[in-house]
Protein backbone atom coordinates (compact mmCIF):
# COMPACT_ATOMS: atom_id res chain seq x y z
CA UNK A 1 0.00 0.00 0.00
CA UNK A 2 1.16 3.49 -0.83
CA UNK A 3 1.10 4.83 2.67
CA UNK A 4 4.02 2.60 3.68
CA UNK A 5 6.30 3.78 0.89
CA UNK A 6 6.07 7.50 1.71
CA UNK A 7 7.06 7.06 5.36
CA UNK A 8 10.68 8.23 5.31
CA UNK A 9 10.25 11.02 2.82
CA UNK A 10 7.30 12.35 4.81
CA UNK A 11 9.28 12.59 8.05
CA UNK A 12 12.08 14.51 6.42
CA UNK A 13 10.00 17.12 4.60
CA UNK A 14 7.78 17.70 7.64
CA UNK A 15 10.61 18.58 9.99
CA UNK A 16 12.26 20.62 7.24
CA UNK A 17 9.15 22.75 6.77
CA UNK A 18 8.80 23.26 10.53
CA UNK A 19 12.32 24.68 10.73
CA UNK A 20 11.79 26.93 7.72
CA UNK A 21 8.75 28.39 9.45
CA UNK A 22 10.57 28.88 12.75
CA UNK A 23 13.26 30.80 10.90
CA UNK A 24 10.65 33.00 9.23
CA UNK A 25 8.95 33.89 12.52
CA UNK A 26 11.03 37.02 13.25
CA UNK A 27 9.21 38.64 10.31
CA UNK A 28 6.08 38.78 12.44
CA UNK A 29 7.87 40.58 15.26
CA UNK A 30 8.77 43.57 13.15
CA UNK A 31 5.11 44.50 12.76
CA UNK A 32 4.65 44.31 16.55
CA UNK A 33 7.49 46.64 17.33
CA UNK A 34 6.76 49.26 14.70
CA UNK A 35 6.36 52.80 15.99
CA UNK A 36 3.02 54.58 16.30
CA UNK A 37 2.08 58.13 15.49
CA UNK A 38 2.73 60.03 18.77
CA UNK A 39 -0.58 61.96 18.77
CA UNK A 40 -2.55 58.76 18.28
CA UNK A 41 -0.49 57.08 21.00
CA UNK A 42 -1.08 59.96 23.40
CA UNK A 43 -4.82 59.81 22.82
CA UNK A 44 -5.00 56.08 23.47
CA UNK A 45 -2.54 55.69 26.31
CA UNK A 46 -2.02 59.00 28.11
CA UNK A 47 -5.18 61.10 27.79
CA UNK A 48 -7.15 59.12 30.37
CA UNK A 49 -4.90 60.44 33.15
CA UNK A 50 -3.34 63.58 31.64
CA UNK A 51 -4.53 66.67 29.80
CA UNK A 52 -2.41 69.33 28.14
CA UNK A 53 -3.85 72.55 29.51
CA UNK A 54 -7.10 71.05 30.75
CA UNK A 55 -6.20 70.66 34.42
CA UNK A 56 -5.32 67.72 36.58
CA UNK A 57 -6.98 64.27 36.16
CA UNK A 58 -5.41 61.28 37.94
CA UNK A 59 -2.05 62.56 36.74
CA UNK A 60 -0.83 66.15 36.45
CA UNK A 61 -1.62 68.57 33.60
CA UNK A 62 1.29 68.27 31.17
CA UNK A 63 1.21 71.85 29.80
CA UNK A 64 4.76 73.28 29.85
CA UNK A 65 6.12 70.00 31.18
CA UNK A 66 9.62 70.93 29.99
CA UNK A 67 9.77 73.71 32.63
CA UNK A 68 9.33 71.19 35.45
CA UNK A 69 11.90 68.48 34.80
CA UNK A 70 14.89 67.72 32.57
CA UNK A 71 14.27 65.68 29.46
CA UNK A 72 16.53 62.84 30.66
CA UNK A 73 14.57 62.51 33.87
CA UNK A 74 11.27 62.48 31.96
CA UNK A 75 12.48 59.81 29.53
CA UNK A 76 13.64 57.56 32.38
CA UNK A 77 10.35 58.12 34.14
CA UNK A 78 8.32 57.17 31.06
CA UNK A 79 10.42 54.05 30.47
CA UNK A 80 10.15 52.77 34.01
CA UNK A 81 8.06 54.74 36.54
CA UNK A 82 8.19 51.99 39.20
CA UNK A 83 11.98 51.78 38.95
CA UNK A 84 12.47 55.55 39.32
CA UNK A 85 10.16 55.56 42.32
CA UNK A 86 11.94 52.62 43.94
CA UNK A 87 15.34 54.29 43.45
CA UNK A 88 14.18 56.85 46.05
CA UNK A 89 13.91 59.76 43.63
CA UNK A 90 12.30 62.67 45.60
CA UNK A 91 10.42 64.25 42.65
CA UNK A 92 8.67 60.96 41.76
CA UNK A 93 7.68 60.56 45.44
CA UNK A 94 6.14 64.03 45.27
CA UNK A 95 4.20 63.04 42.11
CA UNK A 96 2.87 59.92 43.81
CA UNK A 97 1.74 61.98 46.81
CA UNK A 98 -0.07 64.45 44.55
CA UNK A 99 -1.83 61.57 42.78
CA UNK A 100 -2.94 60.21 46.15
CA UNK A 101 -0.77 57.12 45.90
CA UNK A 102 -1.35 56.27 42.22
CA UNK A 103 1.80 55.49 40.21
CA UNK A 104 2.02 55.97 36.46
CA UNK A 105 2.00 52.68 34.55
CA UNK A 106 4.59 51.86 31.94
CA UNK A 107 2.63 52.31 28.72
CA UNK A 108 2.53 49.45 26.23
CA UNK A 109 5.41 49.43 23.77
CA UNK A 110 7.22 52.40 25.36
CA UNK A 111 10.71 52.92 23.95
CA UNK A 112 13.27 55.71 24.21
CA UNK A 113 12.38 56.96 20.71
CA UNK A 114 8.69 56.97 21.45
CA UNK A 115 9.29 58.84 24.73
CA UNK A 116 11.26 61.53 22.85
CA UNK A 117 8.50 61.81 20.22
CA UNK A 118 5.85 62.17 22.95
CA UNK A 119 7.83 64.85 24.79
CA UNK A 120 8.19 66.76 21.48
CA UNK A 121 4.44 66.45 21.01
CA UNK A 122 3.76 67.77 24.53
CA UNK A 123 6.08 70.75 23.91
CA UNK A 124 4.30 71.54 20.63
CA UNK A 125 0.84 71.22 22.14
CA UNK A 126 1.87 73.40 25.14
CA UNK A 127 2.50 76.34 22.78
CA UNK A 128 -1.09 76.25 21.47
CA UNK A 129 -3.90 78.26 23.05
CA UNK A 130 -6.07 75.19 23.16
CA UNK A 131 -4.47 71.81 22.72
CA UNK A 132 -6.38 68.92 21.16
CA UNK A 133 -5.63 67.18 24.45
CA UNK A 134 -7.26 69.77 26.72
CA UNK A 135 -9.58 67.01 27.89
CA UNK A 136 -12.95 65.61 26.93
CA UNK A 137 -15.77 68.00 27.56
CA UNK A 138 -18.33 65.79 29.22
CA UNK A 139 -21.51 67.73 29.99
CA UNK A 140 -21.71 69.36 33.44
CA UNK A 141 -25.46 68.85 33.80
CA UNK A 142 -26.65 67.34 37.09
CA UNK A 143 -26.85 63.55 37.20
CA UNK A 144 -30.43 62.23 37.18
CA UNK A 145 -31.95 58.99 38.50
CA UNK A 146 -32.55 57.98 34.84
CA UNK A 147 -28.80 58.24 34.27
CA UNK A 148 -28.16 55.80 37.10
CA UNK A 149 -30.67 53.33 35.63
CA UNK A 150 -29.18 53.65 32.15
CA UNK A 151 -25.66 53.30 33.54
CA UNK A 152 -26.70 50.16 35.39
CA UNK A 153 -28.17 48.69 32.19
CA UNK A 154 -24.93 49.47 30.33
CA UNK A 155 -22.87 47.98 33.14
CA UNK A 156 -24.90 44.76 33.21
CA UNK A 157 -25.13 44.48 29.44
CA UNK A 158 -28.93 44.55 29.23
CA UNK A 159 -28.30 47.70 27.17
CA UNK A 160 -25.51 47.28 24.64
CA UNK A 161 -22.62 49.70 24.30
CA UNK A 162 -23.21 51.67 21.10
CA UNK A 163 -19.83 50.97 19.50
CA UNK A 164 -19.91 47.25 20.22
CA UNK A 165 -17.59 47.09 23.23
CA UNK A 166 -18.17 44.30 25.77
CA UNK A 167 -20.21 45.29 28.84
CA UNK A 168 -18.50 45.88 32.19
CA UNK A 169 -20.02 42.93 34.08
CA UNK A 170 -17.93 40.34 32.21
CA UNK A 171 -14.88 41.43 34.21
CA UNK A 172 -16.14 43.76 36.96
CA UNK A 173 -18.53 43.62 39.86
CA UNK A 174 -20.08 46.17 42.22
CA UNK A 175 -21.19 45.40 45.77
CA UNK A 176 -24.87 46.06 45.09
CA UNK A 177 -24.98 43.04 42.75
CA UNK A 178 -26.78 40.04 44.22
CA UNK A 179 -26.48 36.36 43.34
CA UNK A 180 -23.20 35.24 41.85
CA UNK A 181 -22.10 38.83 41.30
CA UNK A 182 -20.16 40.30 38.40
CA UNK A 183 -16.78 39.36 36.98
CA UNK A 184 -13.62 39.07 39.04
CA UNK A 185 -10.99 39.48 36.34
CA UNK A 186 -10.90 43.25 36.79
CA UNK A 187 -11.33 45.42 39.86
CA UNK A 188 -14.44 45.72 42.00
CA UNK A 189 -15.78 49.09 40.82
CA UNK A 190 -17.82 50.01 43.90
CA UNK A 191 -15.33 52.72 44.80
CA UNK A 192 -14.08 53.54 41.30
CA UNK A 193 -15.75 56.98 41.41
CA UNK A 194 -13.88 57.79 44.62
CA UNK A 195 -10.60 56.26 43.41
CA UNK A 196 -10.53 58.35 40.25
CA UNK A 197 -11.46 61.46 42.20
CA UNK A 198 -14.91 62.04 40.86
CA UNK A 199 -16.67 62.89 37.69
CA UNK A 200 -13.83 64.45 35.71
CA UNK A 201 -11.26 61.75 36.41
CA UNK A 202 -13.68 58.88 35.89
CA UNK A 203 -15.01 60.37 32.64
CA UNK A 204 -11.53 60.77 31.21
CA UNK A 205 -10.79 57.19 32.25
CA UNK A 206 -13.87 55.84 30.49
CA UNK A 207 -13.25 57.80 27.30
CA UNK A 208 -9.98 55.92 26.83
CA UNK A 209 -9.31 53.28 29.48
CA UNK A 210 -5.58 53.03 30.28
CA UNK A 211 -5.91 49.56 31.85
CA UNK A 212 -3.64 47.28 29.85
CA UNK A 213 -6.34 44.62 29.56
CA UNK A 214 -9.03 47.07 28.41
CA UNK A 215 -6.84 49.23 26.21
CA UNK A 216 -6.63 47.00 23.12
CA UNK A 217 -10.38 46.26 23.26
CA UNK A 218 -11.71 49.77 23.80
CA UNK A 219 -9.22 51.24 21.36
CA UNK A 220 -11.28 49.43 18.74
CA UNK A 221 -14.73 49.76 20.34
CA UNK A 222 -14.60 52.98 22.41
CA UNK A 223 -17.30 53.85 24.93
CA UNK A 224 -19.43 56.54 23.32
CA UNK A 225 -19.36 59.98 24.94
CA UNK A 226 -23.11 59.81 25.52
CA UNK A 227 -22.62 56.59 27.48
CA UNK A 228 -19.93 58.03 29.74
CA UNK A 229 -22.28 60.19 31.81
CA UNK A 230 -24.74 57.37 32.68
CA UNK A 231 -21.85 55.10 33.66
CA UNK A 232 -20.39 57.85 35.83
CA UNK A 233 -23.82 58.35 37.44
CA UNK A 234 -24.14 54.63 38.13
CA UNK A 235 -20.64 54.32 39.61
CA UNK A 236 -21.11 57.50 41.67
CA UNK A 237 -24.26 55.96 43.09
CA UNK A 238 -22.33 52.77 43.92
CA UNK A 239 -19.64 54.73 45.76
CA UNK A 240 -22.31 56.64 47.69
CA UNK A 241 -24.22 53.48 48.62
CA UNK A 242 -20.92 51.87 49.63
CA UNK A 243 -22.51 48.50 50.42
CA UNK A 244 -20.50 45.69 52.03
CA UNK A 245 -18.88 43.21 49.65
CA UNK A 246 -20.97 40.20 48.57
CA UNK A 247 -18.64 37.62 50.10
CA UNK A 248 -20.72 34.56 49.23
CA UNK A 249 -20.75 35.00 45.43
CA UNK A 250 -17.58 32.99 44.77
CA UNK A 251 -18.43 30.26 47.30
CA UNK A 252 -21.92 29.93 45.83
CA UNK A 253 -20.49 29.50 42.34
CA UNK A 254 -18.17 26.78 43.63
CA UNK A 255 -21.02 25.02 45.44
CA UNK A 256 -23.34 25.13 42.42
CA UNK A 257 -20.57 23.56 40.34
CA UNK A 258 -19.71 20.78 42.79
CA UNK A 259 -23.38 20.11 43.57
CA UNK A 260 -24.25 19.89 39.88
CA UNK A 261 -21.34 17.55 39.21
CA UNK A 262 -22.32 15.20 42.07
CA UNK A 263 -25.96 15.07 40.90
CA UNK A 264 -24.86 14.26 37.35
CA UNK A 265 -22.44 11.54 38.47
CA UNK A 266 -25.22 9.86 40.47
CA UNK A 267 -27.45 10.14 37.40
CA UNK A 268 -24.75 8.51 35.25
CA UNK A 269 -24.52 5.59 37.66
CA UNK A 270 -28.30 5.09 37.60
CA UNK A 271 -28.51 5.47 33.82
CA UNK A 272 -25.74 2.93 33.16
CA UNK A 273 -26.67 0.71 36.07
CA UNK A 274 -26.57 -2.44 33.93
CA UNK A 275 -23.55 -1.37 31.94
CA UNK A 276 -21.63 -4.64 32.39
CA UNK A 277 -24.58 -6.91 31.58
CA UNK A 278 -27.05 -5.04 29.42
CA UNK A 279 -25.58 -5.38 25.91
CA UNK A 280 -24.37 -8.90 25.35
CA UNK A 281 -26.72 -11.15 27.30
CA UNK A 282 -30.03 -10.03 25.76
CA UNK A 283 -28.55 -10.17 22.29
CA UNK A 284 -27.18 -13.68 22.73
CA UNK A 285 -30.41 -15.03 24.19
CA UNK A 286 -32.39 -13.35 21.43
CA UNK A 287 -30.24 -14.99 18.74
CA UNK A 288 -30.80 -18.44 20.31
CA UNK A 289 -34.56 -17.99 20.08
CA UNK A 290 -34.44 -17.29 16.37
Amino acid sequence: MRRFTVKRRGTKSASGSVWTIILLLPLFFSSLLSAQVPAEYFKQNCSSCHTIGGGRLTGPDLKNLADRQSRDWLINWMLDPEGVLKSGDPYSAKLQKEARGAVMTRSPGMTRNLAVALLDLIDEESKLDKSQFAGTQISDRPLLPEDIAEGRALFLGTMKLKNGGPSCVGCHTVNSMQGLGGGRLGLNLTRAYARLEGRKGLSAWLVSPPSLVMNPIFKEYPIDEEEVLPLVAFLKNETERDEPENATAMINFLLYGIGGAVVLLVLFDLLWNKRFRAVRQPMVSESYHK
Partner: protein, 243 residues
Protein backbone atom coordinates in the same frame (compact mmCIF):
# COMPACT_ATOMS: atom_id res chain seq x y z
CA UNK B 1 15.19 47.93 35.50
CA UNK B 2 14.16 49.21 32.08
CA UNK B 3 16.20 46.42 30.49
CA UNK B 4 14.30 43.91 32.62
CA UNK B 5 10.95 45.01 31.30
CA UNK B 6 12.16 44.82 27.72
CA UNK B 7 13.48 41.32 28.39
CA UNK B 8 10.05 40.46 29.74
CA UNK B 9 8.44 41.68 26.52
CA UNK B 10 10.59 39.24 24.58
CA UNK B 11 9.49 36.44 26.90
CA UNK B 12 5.87 37.31 26.21
CA UNK B 13 6.65 37.39 22.53
CA UNK B 14 8.10 33.91 22.77
CA UNK B 15 5.22 32.36 24.70
CA UNK B 16 2.41 34.02 22.79
CA UNK B 17 3.81 34.26 19.28
CA UNK B 18 6.63 31.78 18.70
CA UNK B 19 5.13 28.92 20.71
CA UNK B 20 1.67 29.17 19.06
CA UNK B 21 3.12 29.02 15.53
CA UNK B 22 5.54 26.26 16.49
CA UNK B 23 2.64 24.32 17.99
CA UNK B 24 0.21 24.90 15.12
CA UNK B 25 2.64 24.12 12.31
CA UNK B 26 3.91 21.02 14.10
CA UNK B 27 0.31 19.99 14.69
CA UNK B 28 -0.71 20.25 11.04
CA UNK B 29 2.44 18.83 9.50
CA UNK B 30 3.00 15.93 11.87
CA UNK B 31 -0.64 14.83 12.20
CA UNK B 32 -0.88 14.58 8.40
CA UNK B 33 2.53 12.94 8.07
CA UNK B 34 1.76 10.43 10.84
CA UNK B 35 -1.59 9.56 9.29
CA UNK B 36 -0.04 8.98 5.90
CA UNK B 37 3.06 7.21 7.14
CA UNK B 38 1.90 5.36 10.25
CA UNK B 39 -1.88 5.36 10.00
CA UNK B 40 -2.21 2.30 12.20
CA UNK B 41 -0.69 4.16 15.16
CA UNK B 42 -3.70 6.50 15.20
CA UNK B 43 -5.26 5.03 18.29
CA UNK B 44 -6.38 5.83 21.80
CA UNK B 45 -4.42 2.72 22.90
CA UNK B 46 -7.45 1.68 24.90
CA UNK B 47 -6.90 -0.38 28.02
CA UNK B 48 -10.59 -1.10 28.52
CA UNK B 49 -10.03 -4.82 27.92
CA UNK B 50 -7.52 -4.93 30.75
CA UNK B 51 -9.76 -3.37 33.38
CA UNK B 52 -13.35 -2.24 32.90
CA UNK B 53 -14.99 -1.27 36.20
CA UNK B 54 -12.87 1.69 37.21
CA UNK B 55 -12.40 2.50 33.53
CA UNK B 56 -16.02 3.65 33.45
CA UNK B 57 -15.56 6.22 36.23
CA UNK B 58 -12.35 7.44 34.65
CA UNK B 59 -13.15 7.68 30.97
CA UNK B 60 -16.83 8.58 30.96
CA UNK B 61 -16.68 11.67 33.22
CA UNK B 62 -13.39 12.73 31.62
CA UNK B 63 -14.70 12.63 28.06
CA UNK B 64 -18.08 14.20 28.77
CA UNK B 65 -16.30 16.92 30.75
CA UNK B 66 -13.59 17.64 28.25
CA UNK B 67 -16.04 17.71 25.33
CA UNK B 68 -18.21 20.28 27.12
CA UNK B 69 -15.20 22.39 28.03
CA UNK B 70 -13.64 22.23 24.56
CA UNK B 71 -16.97 22.99 22.91
CA UNK B 72 -17.24 26.09 25.11
CA UNK B 73 -13.77 27.29 24.14
CA UNK B 74 -14.42 26.58 20.46
CA UNK B 75 -17.73 28.45 20.55
CA UNK B 76 -16.07 31.48 22.15
CA UNK B 77 -13.43 31.41 19.42
CA UNK B 78 -15.83 31.00 16.49
CA UNK B 79 -18.82 33.08 17.68
CA UNK B 80 -17.60 35.68 20.20
CA UNK B 81 -20.39 38.13 19.33
CA UNK B 82 -23.14 35.57 19.83
CA UNK B 83 -21.56 34.51 23.12
CA UNK B 84 -21.59 38.09 24.44
CA UNK B 85 -25.18 38.39 23.25
CA UNK B 86 -26.13 35.29 25.24
CA UNK B 87 -24.31 36.66 28.29
CA UNK B 88 -26.16 39.99 28.14
CA UNK B 89 -28.74 38.34 30.39
CA UNK B 90 -27.19 37.69 33.79
CA UNK B 91 -29.15 34.50 34.44
CA UNK B 92 -28.04 33.03 31.11
CA UNK B 93 -24.44 34.00 31.93
CA UNK B 94 -24.65 32.17 35.26
CA UNK B 95 -26.19 29.05 33.68
CA UNK B 96 -23.45 28.97 31.04
CA UNK B 97 -20.65 29.50 33.56
CA UNK B 98 -21.95 26.85 35.97
CA UNK B 99 -22.40 24.35 33.11
CA UNK B 100 -18.85 24.93 31.94
CA UNK B 101 -17.60 24.66 35.51
CA UNK B 102 -19.40 21.33 35.96
CA UNK B 103 -17.70 20.17 32.75
CA UNK B 104 -14.37 21.15 34.29
CA UNK B 105 -15.10 19.26 37.51
CA UNK B 106 -16.13 16.20 35.46
CA UNK B 107 -12.81 16.36 33.61
CA UNK B 108 -10.95 16.60 36.91
CA UNK B 109 -12.85 13.69 38.50
CA UNK B 110 -12.22 11.57 35.40
CA UNK B 111 -8.56 12.45 35.30
CA UNK B 112 -8.05 11.66 39.00
CA UNK B 113 -9.62 8.25 38.40
CA UNK B 114 -7.43 7.74 35.34
CA UNK B 115 -4.34 8.40 37.46
CA UNK B 116 -5.51 6.15 40.32
CA UNK B 117 -6.40 3.37 37.88
CA UNK B 118 -3.07 3.52 36.08
CA UNK B 119 -1.19 3.47 39.38
CA UNK B 120 -3.15 0.71 41.12
CA UNK B 121 -4.27 -1.75 38.43
CA UNK B 122 -1.27 -3.96 37.61
CA UNK B 123 -2.24 -4.76 34.03
CA UNK B 124 -3.03 -1.15 33.13
CA UNK B 125 0.13 0.02 34.87
CA UNK B 126 2.10 -2.34 32.64
CA UNK B 127 0.95 -0.68 29.41
CA UNK B 128 1.35 2.93 30.63
CA UNK B 129 4.27 4.72 28.98
CA UNK B 130 6.22 7.86 29.81
CA UNK B 131 4.39 9.70 27.03
CA UNK B 132 1.08 8.75 28.66
CA UNK B 133 2.20 10.28 31.96
CA UNK B 134 3.32 13.38 30.12
CA UNK B 135 -0.13 13.75 28.55
CA UNK B 136 -1.79 13.17 31.92
CA UNK B 137 0.55 15.72 33.53
CA UNK B 138 -0.17 18.50 31.05
CA UNK B 139 -3.92 17.79 31.24
CA UNK B 140 -3.82 18.05 35.05
CA UNK B 141 -2.02 21.37 34.62
CA UNK B 142 -4.66 22.60 32.14
CA UNK B 143 -7.58 21.60 34.35
CA UNK B 144 -5.93 23.08 37.43
CA UNK B 145 -5.30 26.47 35.82
CA UNK B 146 -8.68 26.34 34.05
CA UNK B 147 -10.70 25.70 37.20
CA UNK B 148 -8.69 28.34 39.08
CA UNK B 149 -9.48 30.82 36.31
CA UNK B 150 -13.17 29.93 36.34
CA UNK B 151 -13.40 30.54 40.09
CA UNK B 152 -11.11 33.51 40.65
CA UNK B 153 -11.13 35.31 37.28
CA UNK B 154 -14.78 35.11 36.30
CA UNK B 155 -16.57 35.52 33.96
CA UNK B 156 -14.38 33.77 31.47
CA UNK B 157 -17.12 33.20 28.92
CA UNK B 158 -17.42 36.97 28.51
CA UNK B 159 -13.81 38.05 28.59
CA UNK B 160 -12.73 35.11 26.43
CA UNK B 161 -14.95 36.58 23.72
CA UNK B 162 -13.54 40.09 24.09
CA UNK B 163 -9.86 39.41 24.85
CA UNK B 164 -8.87 35.91 23.80
CA UNK B 165 -10.96 35.51 20.64
CA UNK B 166 -9.29 38.58 19.04
CA UNK B 167 -5.87 37.29 20.16
CA UNK B 168 -6.48 33.83 18.71
CA UNK B 169 -7.81 35.28 15.45
CA UNK B 170 -4.75 37.53 15.25
CA UNK B 171 -2.65 34.35 15.36
CA UNK B 172 -4.77 32.78 12.62
CA UNK B 173 -4.38 35.92 10.48
CA UNK B 174 -0.58 35.93 10.90
CA UNK B 175 -0.65 39.31 12.62
CA UNK B 176 -0.27 38.40 16.31
CA UNK B 177 -1.70 40.94 18.78
CA UNK B 178 0.00 39.90 22.02
CA UNK B 179 -1.22 43.08 23.78
CA UNK B 180 -4.52 41.27 24.44
CA UNK B 181 -2.87 38.58 26.55
CA UNK B 182 0.28 40.03 28.11
CA UNK B 183 -1.54 42.00 30.86
CA UNK B 184 -3.75 39.03 31.89
CA UNK B 185 -3.24 37.31 35.28
CA UNK B 186 -0.54 34.65 35.40
CA UNK B 187 -2.95 31.69 35.76
CA UNK B 188 -4.69 32.60 32.50
CA UNK B 189 -1.36 33.03 30.73
CA UNK B 190 -0.19 29.64 32.01
CA UNK B 191 -3.47 28.15 30.77
CA UNK B 192 -2.91 29.61 27.29
CA UNK B 193 0.71 28.38 27.19
CA UNK B 194 -0.45 24.93 28.39
CA UNK B 195 -3.03 24.84 25.60
CA UNK B 196 -0.37 25.41 22.96
CA UNK B 197 1.83 22.75 24.58
CA UNK B 198 -1.10 20.31 24.28
CA UNK B 199 -1.46 21.20 20.58
CA UNK B 200 2.29 20.74 20.16
CA UNK B 201 2.25 17.30 21.81
CA UNK B 202 -0.97 16.22 20.14
CA UNK B 203 0.50 14.57 17.01
CA UNK B 204 3.12 12.65 18.99
CA UNK B 205 0.81 11.09 21.57
CA UNK B 206 -2.37 9.04 21.97
CA UNK B 207 -4.28 12.33 21.77
CA UNK B 208 -4.48 11.79 17.98
CA UNK B 209 -7.40 9.41 18.60
CA UNK B 210 -9.56 12.56 18.84
CA UNK B 211 -9.23 12.84 15.04
CA UNK B 212 -10.31 9.28 14.30
CA UNK B 213 -13.26 8.84 16.66
CA UNK B 214 -15.37 5.97 15.25
CA UNK B 215 -18.50 8.09 15.19
CA UNK B 216 -20.57 5.47 13.27
CA UNK B 217 -20.50 3.39 16.50
CA UNK B 218 -23.09 5.84 17.75
CA UNK B 219 -25.70 4.71 15.24
CA UNK B 220 -24.62 1.40 13.69
CA UNK B 221 -26.30 -1.78 14.93
CA UNK B 222 -24.58 -3.67 17.75
CA UNK B 223 -22.62 -6.79 16.78
CA UNK B 224 -22.28 -9.88 18.92
CA UNK B 225 -18.88 -11.49 18.98
CA UNK B 226 -19.06 -15.30 19.36
CA UNK B 227 -16.02 -17.21 20.50
CA UNK B 228 -15.22 -20.63 19.09
CA UNK B 229 -13.64 -21.86 22.29
CA UNK B 230 -14.41 -22.17 25.95
CA UNK B 231 -13.85 -18.64 27.28
CA UNK B 232 -13.35 -19.80 30.85
CA UNK B 233 -10.91 -22.51 29.99
CA UNK B 234 -8.52 -20.29 28.03
CA UNK B 235 -8.06 -18.06 31.06
CA UNK B 236 -6.51 -20.87 33.11
CA UNK B 237 -2.68 -20.87 33.19
CA UNK B 238 -2.48 -24.47 32.00
CA UNK B 239 -4.20 -23.71 28.71
CA UNK B 240 -1.94 -23.90 25.66
CA UNK B 241 -3.22 -22.74 22.32
CA UNK B 242 -1.63 -25.50 20.19
CA UNK B 243 -2.60 -28.40 22.43
Amino acid sequence: MAENTIYFDYLNLFWFTVLPYLALFTFFLVTIQRYRGKGFTYSSLSSQFLENKMHFWALVPFHYGVLIVLAGHAFGFLFPGQLLQWNSNLLRLYVLEISGFIGGIFTLVGLINIIVRRLTDARTKMVTTGADWFVIGILVFQIGTGLFTAIFHSWGSSWFASSLAPYLWSIVKFNPAVAYVTPLPIMIKLHIIGAFVVILLFPFTRLVHALVVPNPYLWRKPQVVRWNWDRKKIRTPEFKIHK
